[in-house]
Protein backbone atom coordinates (compact mmCIF):
# COMPACT_ATOMS: atom_id res chain seq x y z
CA UNK A 1 0.00 0.00 0.00
CA UNK A 2 2.76 2.40 0.96
CA UNK A 3 4.64 1.49 -2.19
CA UNK A 4 1.63 2.23 -4.38
CA UNK A 5 1.08 5.56 -2.63
CA UNK A 6 4.70 6.50 -3.13
CA UNK A 7 4.57 5.72 -6.82
CA UNK A 8 1.43 7.85 -7.18
CA UNK A 9 3.14 10.87 -5.64
CA UNK A 10 4.53 13.37 -8.11
CA UNK A 11 8.25 13.31 -8.68
CA UNK A 12 10.64 16.26 -8.68
CA UNK A 13 11.01 16.09 -12.45
CA UNK A 14 7.24 16.15 -12.95
CA UNK A 15 6.99 19.16 -10.63
CA UNK A 16 9.76 20.94 -12.52
CA UNK A 17 8.07 20.24 -15.83
CA UNK A 18 4.79 21.77 -14.62
CA UNK A 19 6.54 24.87 -13.22
CA UNK A 20 8.48 25.27 -16.44
CA UNK A 21 5.37 25.00 -18.58
CA UNK A 22 2.86 26.87 -16.44
CA UNK A 23 5.07 29.61 -15.07
CA UNK A 24 8.57 30.05 -16.47
CA UNK A 25 7.76 29.66 -20.17
CA UNK A 26 4.77 32.00 -19.94
CA UNK A 27 6.71 34.50 -17.85
CA UNK A 28 9.55 34.55 -20.37
CA UNK A 29 7.11 35.01 -23.22
CA UNK A 30 5.45 37.91 -21.40
CA UNK A 31 8.78 39.54 -20.57
CA UNK A 32 9.85 39.41 -24.19
CA UNK A 33 6.83 41.53 -25.12
CA UNK A 34 7.67 44.32 -22.68
CA UNK A 35 10.22 47.07 -23.08
CA UNK A 36 13.41 46.69 -21.07
CA UNK A 37 13.72 50.47 -20.99
CA UNK A 38 11.48 50.60 -17.95
CA UNK A 39 11.67 51.01 -14.20
CA UNK A 40 10.27 47.52 -13.81
CA UNK A 41 12.65 44.70 -12.92
CA UNK A 42 14.87 43.67 -15.79
CA UNK A 43 14.15 40.04 -16.66
CA UNK A 44 17.01 37.70 -15.82
CA UNK A 45 19.16 36.19 -18.53
CA UNK A 46 18.38 32.71 -17.29
CA UNK A 47 16.27 31.09 -14.57
CA UNK A 48 16.54 27.70 -12.90
CA UNK A 49 13.91 25.84 -10.95
CA UNK A 50 14.67 23.98 -7.74
CA UNK A 51 12.07 21.75 -6.11
CA UNK A 52 12.73 22.16 -2.41
CA UNK A 53 10.61 19.25 -1.14
CA UNK A 54 12.02 15.76 -1.46
CA UNK A 55 8.54 14.27 -1.39
CA UNK A 56 5.16 15.82 -2.02
CA UNK A 57 3.21 17.19 0.94
CA UNK A 58 -0.53 17.01 1.43
CA UNK A 59 -2.66 20.02 2.34
CA UNK A 60 -5.81 20.03 4.51
CA UNK A 61 -7.99 19.31 1.47
CA UNK A 62 -5.89 16.33 0.41
CA UNK A 63 -4.14 18.05 -2.47
CA UNK A 64 -0.53 17.02 -3.03
CA UNK A 65 1.95 19.79 -3.60
CA UNK A 66 5.69 20.44 -3.70
CA UNK A 67 7.41 23.69 -2.82
CA UNK A 68 9.89 25.22 -5.22
CA UNK A 69 12.25 28.13 -5.67
CA UNK A 70 13.31 29.86 -8.85
CA UNK A 71 16.81 31.33 -8.99
CA UNK A 72 17.72 34.07 -11.42
CA UNK A 73 20.93 34.99 -13.17
CA UNK A 74 21.59 38.44 -14.57
CA UNK A 75 24.39 39.67 -16.78
CA UNK A 76 25.88 38.89 -20.16
CA UNK A 77 28.47 36.42 -21.38
CA UNK A 78 27.39 33.52 -19.25
CA UNK A 79 24.65 31.58 -20.98
CA UNK A 80 24.75 28.75 -18.49
CA UNK A 81 26.52 29.68 -15.28
CA UNK A 82 27.71 26.84 -13.11
CA UNK A 83 25.15 25.50 -10.68
CA UNK A 84 27.24 26.55 -7.71
CA UNK A 85 28.10 29.97 -9.15
CA UNK A 86 27.62 32.78 -6.66
CA UNK A 87 26.11 34.88 -9.42
CA UNK A 88 22.78 33.10 -9.05
CA UNK A 89 20.24 35.21 -7.16
CA UNK A 90 18.52 32.61 -5.09
CA UNK A 91 14.79 32.44 -4.37
CA UNK A 92 13.82 35.17 -6.84
CA UNK A 93 10.45 33.40 -6.92
CA UNK A 94 9.21 30.89 -4.35
CA UNK A 95 5.98 28.98 -4.35
CA UNK A 96 4.35 25.60 -4.59
CA UNK A 97 3.03 23.43 -7.38
CA UNK A 98 0.10 21.02 -7.48
CA UNK A 99 1.40 18.65 -10.11
CA UNK A 100 -1.84 16.78 -10.68
CA UNK A 101 -3.94 19.86 -11.38
CA UNK A 102 -1.06 21.83 -12.90
CA UNK A 103 -1.69 24.75 -10.55
CA UNK A 104 1.24 26.93 -9.53
CA UNK A 105 1.15 29.36 -6.61
CA UNK A 106 3.79 31.95 -5.76
CA UNK A 107 4.55 33.69 -2.50
CA UNK A 108 3.99 37.42 -2.44
CA UNK A 109 4.31 39.32 0.85
CA UNK A 110 3.97 36.10 2.88
CA UNK A 111 0.77 35.10 1.08
CA UNK A 112 0.31 32.62 -1.72
CA UNK A 113 -1.32 33.83 -4.90
CA UNK A 114 -1.92 32.05 -8.20
CA UNK A 115 1.14 32.15 -10.44
CA UNK A 116 -0.98 33.97 -13.00
CA UNK A 117 -0.36 37.12 -10.99
CA UNK A 118 3.24 37.18 -12.23
CA UNK A 119 1.83 36.94 -15.73
CA UNK A 120 -0.28 40.04 -15.23
CA UNK A 121 -3.59 38.31 -14.61
CA UNK A 122 -5.85 39.81 -11.97
CA UNK A 123 -5.95 37.32 -9.10
CA UNK A 124 -7.04 37.00 -5.51
CA UNK A 125 -5.00 35.40 -2.70
CA UNK A 126 -5.15 31.61 -2.62
CA UNK A 127 -7.33 29.91 0.03
CA UNK A 128 -5.66 29.44 3.42
CA UNK A 129 -5.00 25.72 2.96
CA UNK A 130 -3.05 26.15 -0.27
CA UNK A 131 0.66 25.32 0.00
CA UNK A 132 0.28 24.53 3.71
CA UNK A 133 0.94 20.94 4.79
CA UNK A 134 -1.70 19.44 7.06
CA UNK A 135 -0.81 19.41 10.76
CA UNK A 136 0.42 15.80 10.99
CA UNK A 137 2.78 16.18 8.05
CA UNK A 138 4.30 19.36 9.43
CA UNK A 139 5.20 17.54 12.67
CA UNK A 140 6.60 14.58 10.74
CA UNK A 141 8.64 16.86 8.53
CA UNK A 142 10.00 18.69 11.58
CA UNK A 143 11.09 15.41 13.14
Amino acid sequence: MLASLASASPSESEAKAVIQKQLIAKLTAKEEKHSRFSRAYIPPQVRRVRVTDEVAKTDEKGGEFMTFAVDAHHGFNEEAPAADSKSWRKDAIVGCVYVESGEVFVKKNDKFVPGGMLLGKKTTPAPEHVCVAKAGEQVAAAQ
Binding site: K30, H34, S35, I42, L119, G120, K121
Partner: protein, 230 residues
Protein backbone atom coordinates in the same frame (compact mmCIF):
# COMPACT_ATOMS: atom_id res chain seq x y z
CA UNK B 1 33.06 75.41 -18.34
CA UNK B 2 31.75 74.63 -21.83
CA UNK B 3 31.37 71.34 -23.61
CA UNK B 4 32.23 70.74 -27.28
CA UNK B 5 29.34 71.92 -29.48
CA UNK B 6 28.67 68.48 -30.90
CA UNK B 7 27.76 67.04 -27.50
CA UNK B 8 24.71 69.19 -26.97
CA UNK B 9 22.68 68.09 -30.04
CA UNK B 10 23.73 64.48 -29.48
CA UNK B 11 22.59 64.69 -25.89
CA UNK B 12 19.23 66.23 -26.82
CA UNK B 13 18.79 63.57 -29.50
CA UNK B 14 19.56 60.80 -27.03
CA UNK B 15 17.04 62.25 -24.58
CA UNK B 16 14.41 62.49 -27.32
CA UNK B 17 15.01 58.87 -28.29
CA UNK B 18 14.90 57.79 -24.65
CA UNK B 19 11.69 59.71 -24.09
CA UNK B 20 10.10 58.07 -27.14
CA UNK B 21 11.16 54.63 -25.91
CA UNK B 22 9.73 55.26 -22.45
CA UNK B 23 6.45 56.54 -23.88
CA UNK B 24 6.19 53.57 -26.22
CA UNK B 25 6.83 51.16 -23.35
CA UNK B 26 4.27 52.94 -21.19
CA UNK B 27 1.35 52.17 -23.52
CA UNK B 28 1.02 48.89 -21.68
CA UNK B 29 -0.14 50.76 -18.54
CA UNK B 30 -3.39 51.49 -20.34
CA UNK B 31 -4.15 47.84 -21.17
CA UNK B 32 -7.19 46.91 -19.12
CA UNK B 33 -6.67 43.17 -19.65
CA UNK B 34 -3.14 42.65 -18.46
CA UNK B 35 -0.97 44.19 -15.78
CA UNK B 36 2.56 45.18 -16.82
CA UNK B 37 5.62 44.02 -14.80
CA UNK B 38 6.11 47.43 -13.13
CA UNK B 39 2.60 47.19 -11.65
CA UNK B 40 2.83 43.49 -10.78
CA UNK B 41 5.92 43.96 -8.64
CA UNK B 42 4.16 46.63 -6.58
CA UNK B 43 1.13 44.52 -5.73
CA UNK B 44 -0.62 44.38 -3.35
CA UNK B 45 -1.12 48.12 -3.02
CA UNK B 46 -3.35 50.06 -0.66
CA UNK B 47 -5.85 52.02 -2.78
CA UNK B 48 -4.69 50.36 -6.00
CA UNK B 49 -7.02 52.50 -8.12
CA UNK B 50 -5.51 55.71 -6.76
CA UNK B 51 -2.00 54.42 -7.46
CA UNK B 52 -2.95 53.40 -11.00
CA UNK B 53 -4.51 56.82 -11.63
CA UNK B 54 -1.36 58.51 -10.32
CA UNK B 55 0.80 56.26 -12.52
CA UNK B 56 -1.22 56.95 -15.66
CA UNK B 57 -1.26 60.70 -14.97
CA UNK B 58 2.49 60.65 -14.38
CA UNK B 59 3.15 58.69 -17.56
CA UNK B 60 1.04 60.99 -19.74
CA UNK B 61 2.49 64.13 -18.16
CA UNK B 62 6.05 62.85 -18.61
CA UNK B 63 5.38 61.78 -22.20
CA UNK B 64 4.46 65.41 -22.90
CA UNK B 65 6.83 67.27 -20.58
CA UNK B 66 10.19 65.79 -21.53
CA UNK B 67 9.82 66.30 -25.31
CA UNK B 68 8.35 69.73 -24.58
CA UNK B 69 11.40 70.64 -22.49
CA UNK B 70 13.63 69.48 -25.33
CA UNK B 71 11.73 71.68 -27.80
CA UNK B 72 12.00 74.61 -25.39
CA UNK B 73 15.77 74.12 -25.27
CA UNK B 74 16.12 74.41 -29.05
CA UNK B 75 17.69 77.63 -30.29
CA UNK B 76 15.72 77.31 -33.50
CA UNK B 77 12.36 77.38 -31.74
CA UNK B 78 13.34 80.25 -29.49
CA UNK B 79 14.69 82.40 -32.33
CA UNK B 80 12.09 81.69 -34.98
CA UNK B 81 9.04 81.10 -32.85
CA UNK B 82 9.40 83.03 -29.59
CA UNK B 83 5.62 83.05 -29.04
CA UNK B 84 5.53 79.25 -29.32
CA UNK B 85 8.44 79.06 -26.87
CA UNK B 86 6.51 81.20 -24.39
CA UNK B 87 3.23 79.33 -24.73
CA UNK B 88 4.84 75.92 -24.72
CA UNK B 89 6.73 77.00 -21.62
CA UNK B 90 3.53 78.03 -19.87
CA UNK B 91 1.73 74.78 -20.71
CA UNK B 92 4.77 72.70 -19.75
CA UNK B 93 5.12 74.57 -16.47
CA UNK B 94 1.47 73.86 -15.68
CA UNK B 95 1.71 70.18 -16.58
CA UNK B 96 4.89 69.74 -14.56
CA UNK B 97 3.72 71.60 -11.47
CA UNK B 98 0.13 70.37 -11.35
CA UNK B 99 0.37 66.82 -12.72
CA UNK B 100 3.90 65.45 -13.04
CA UNK B 101 5.28 66.49 -9.65
CA UNK B 102 2.21 65.71 -7.48
CA UNK B 103 1.68 62.29 -9.09
CA UNK B 104 5.42 61.60 -8.80
CA UNK B 105 5.39 62.43 -5.09
CA UNK B 106 2.55 59.99 -4.50
CA UNK B 107 4.24 57.24 -6.54
CA UNK B 108 7.50 57.81 -4.67
CA UNK B 109 5.83 56.61 -1.47
CA UNK B 110 5.74 53.13 -3.03
CA UNK B 111 9.11 53.27 -4.77
CA UNK B 112 11.43 50.31 -4.92
CA UNK B 113 14.42 50.43 -2.64
CA UNK B 114 12.49 51.50 0.47
CA UNK B 115 13.23 54.85 2.07
CA UNK B 116 16.30 55.50 -0.10
CA UNK B 117 14.16 55.07 -3.22
CA UNK B 118 11.37 57.26 -1.87
CA UNK B 119 13.80 60.02 -0.87
CA UNK B 120 15.57 59.90 -4.23
CA UNK B 121 12.37 60.44 -6.18
CA UNK B 122 11.14 63.08 -3.70
CA UNK B 123 14.39 65.02 -3.99
CA UNK B 124 14.19 64.91 -7.79
CA UNK B 125 10.56 66.09 -7.67
CA UNK B 126 11.40 68.86 -5.21
CA UNK B 127 14.21 70.11 -7.46
CA UNK B 128 11.86 70.08 -10.46
CA UNK B 129 9.11 71.95 -8.60
CA UNK B 130 11.45 74.56 -7.09
CA UNK B 131 13.38 75.10 -10.32
CA UNK B 132 10.21 75.31 -12.42
CA UNK B 133 8.64 77.92 -10.14
CA UNK B 134 11.86 79.94 -10.13
CA UNK B 135 12.17 79.44 -13.87
CA UNK B 136 8.71 80.89 -14.44
CA UNK B 137 9.31 83.82 -12.09
CA UNK B 138 12.67 84.72 -13.64
CA UNK B 139 11.21 84.51 -17.16
CA UNK B 140 8.40 86.85 -16.14
CA UNK B 141 10.99 89.20 -14.65
CA UNK B 142 13.00 89.12 -17.88
CA UNK B 143 16.01 87.63 -16.12
CA UNK B 144 16.85 85.15 -18.84
CA UNK B 145 20.25 84.13 -17.55
CA UNK B 146 18.71 82.96 -14.30
CA UNK B 147 15.74 81.53 -16.20
CA UNK B 148 18.06 79.36 -18.27
CA UNK B 149 19.81 78.11 -15.18
CA UNK B 150 16.57 77.10 -13.45
CA UNK B 151 14.95 75.44 -16.45
CA UNK B 152 18.17 73.53 -17.07
CA UNK B 153 17.73 72.06 -13.60
CA UNK B 154 14.21 71.02 -14.64
CA UNK B 155 15.51 69.42 -17.83
CA UNK B 156 18.35 67.80 -15.87
CA UNK B 157 15.91 66.08 -13.53
CA UNK B 158 13.64 65.10 -16.43
CA UNK B 159 16.69 63.51 -18.02
CA UNK B 160 17.01 61.29 -14.95
CA UNK B 161 14.17 59.17 -16.36
CA UNK B 162 16.26 58.30 -19.41
CA UNK B 163 19.70 58.14 -17.79
CA UNK B 164 18.42 56.04 -14.93
CA UNK B 165 16.94 53.41 -17.24
CA UNK B 166 20.09 53.30 -19.34
CA UNK B 167 22.16 52.84 -16.17
CA UNK B 168 19.86 50.05 -14.99
CA UNK B 169 20.44 48.20 -18.26
CA UNK B 170 24.19 48.65 -17.92
CA UNK B 171 24.28 47.55 -14.30
CA UNK B 172 22.11 44.54 -15.11
CA UNK B 173 24.54 43.56 -17.85
CA UNK B 174 27.28 43.73 -15.24
CA UNK B 175 25.18 41.40 -13.05
CA UNK B 176 24.72 43.97 -10.28
CA UNK B 177 22.28 43.16 -7.53
CA UNK B 178 18.97 44.55 -8.90
CA UNK B 179 17.98 46.39 -5.69
CA UNK B 180 21.35 48.10 -5.39
CA UNK B 181 21.44 48.83 -9.11
CA UNK B 182 18.03 50.50 -8.88
CA UNK B 183 19.19 52.89 -6.17
CA UNK B 184 22.52 53.66 -7.84
CA UNK B 185 20.70 54.32 -11.11
CA UNK B 186 18.39 56.72 -9.27
CA UNK B 187 20.72 58.70 -7.02
CA UNK B 188 23.69 59.08 -9.39
CA UNK B 189 21.72 60.86 -12.15
CA UNK B 190 19.67 62.93 -9.68
CA UNK B 191 22.77 64.32 -7.96
CA UNK B 192 24.85 64.23 -11.15
CA UNK B 193 22.35 66.40 -13.00
CA UNK B 194 22.42 69.01 -10.25
CA UNK B 195 26.21 69.02 -10.29
CA UNK B 196 26.42 69.25 -14.10
CA UNK B 197 23.98 72.14 -14.33
CA UNK B 198 25.79 73.98 -11.56
CA UNK B 199 29.08 73.35 -13.33
CA UNK B 200 28.06 74.05 -16.92
CA UNK B 201 25.41 76.76 -16.81
CA UNK B 202 26.80 80.20 -16.05
CA UNK B 203 25.61 81.82 -12.86
CA UNK B 204 23.98 85.20 -13.34
CA UNK B 205 26.45 87.78 -12.11
CA UNK B 206 25.09 91.13 -10.90
CA UNK B 207 26.21 92.75 -14.18
CA UNK B 208 24.74 90.02 -16.35
CA UNK B 209 21.57 90.07 -14.34
CA UNK B 210 21.25 93.81 -14.89
CA UNK B 211 21.89 93.38 -18.61
CA UNK B 212 19.39 90.59 -18.91
CA UNK B 213 16.69 92.58 -17.18
CA UNK B 214 17.30 95.77 -19.05
CA UNK B 215 17.94 94.11 -22.43
CA UNK B 216 15.74 91.04 -22.85
CA UNK B 217 16.64 90.61 -26.53
CA UNK B 218 18.67 87.41 -26.55
CA UNK B 219 21.95 86.84 -28.31
CA UNK B 220 23.11 83.55 -29.82
CA UNK B 221 25.39 82.83 -26.90
CA UNK B 222 23.01 83.84 -24.15
CA UNK B 223 19.68 82.49 -25.19
CA UNK B 224 17.59 81.17 -22.36
CA UNK B 225 17.78 77.43 -22.27
CA UNK B 226 20.73 77.24 -24.62
CA UNK B 227 24.44 76.70 -24.70
CA UNK B 228 24.70 73.85 -22.26
CA UNK B 229 24.49 70.14 -22.25
CA UNK B 230 23.39 68.52 -19.04
Amino acid sequence: MRLPKVIRPLWLLALAAGSALISYGSVTYFDAEELPPFVIEKLPLPMEEVWMTALKSHVVAAAFALPACLLLALAFVLKRFPRIHRWLGRVTGGVVLFVLVPSGFYLSLFAKGGLAGTLGFMLSGAIVAFAMVRGVLTARAGDYVAHRRFVMHVLGQMAVAVVSRAMMLGLDAAAFDPERAYLIALWVPVLGSVALVELLVPRPSRRKHHEAVSRPVVSDAREPGLGVAV
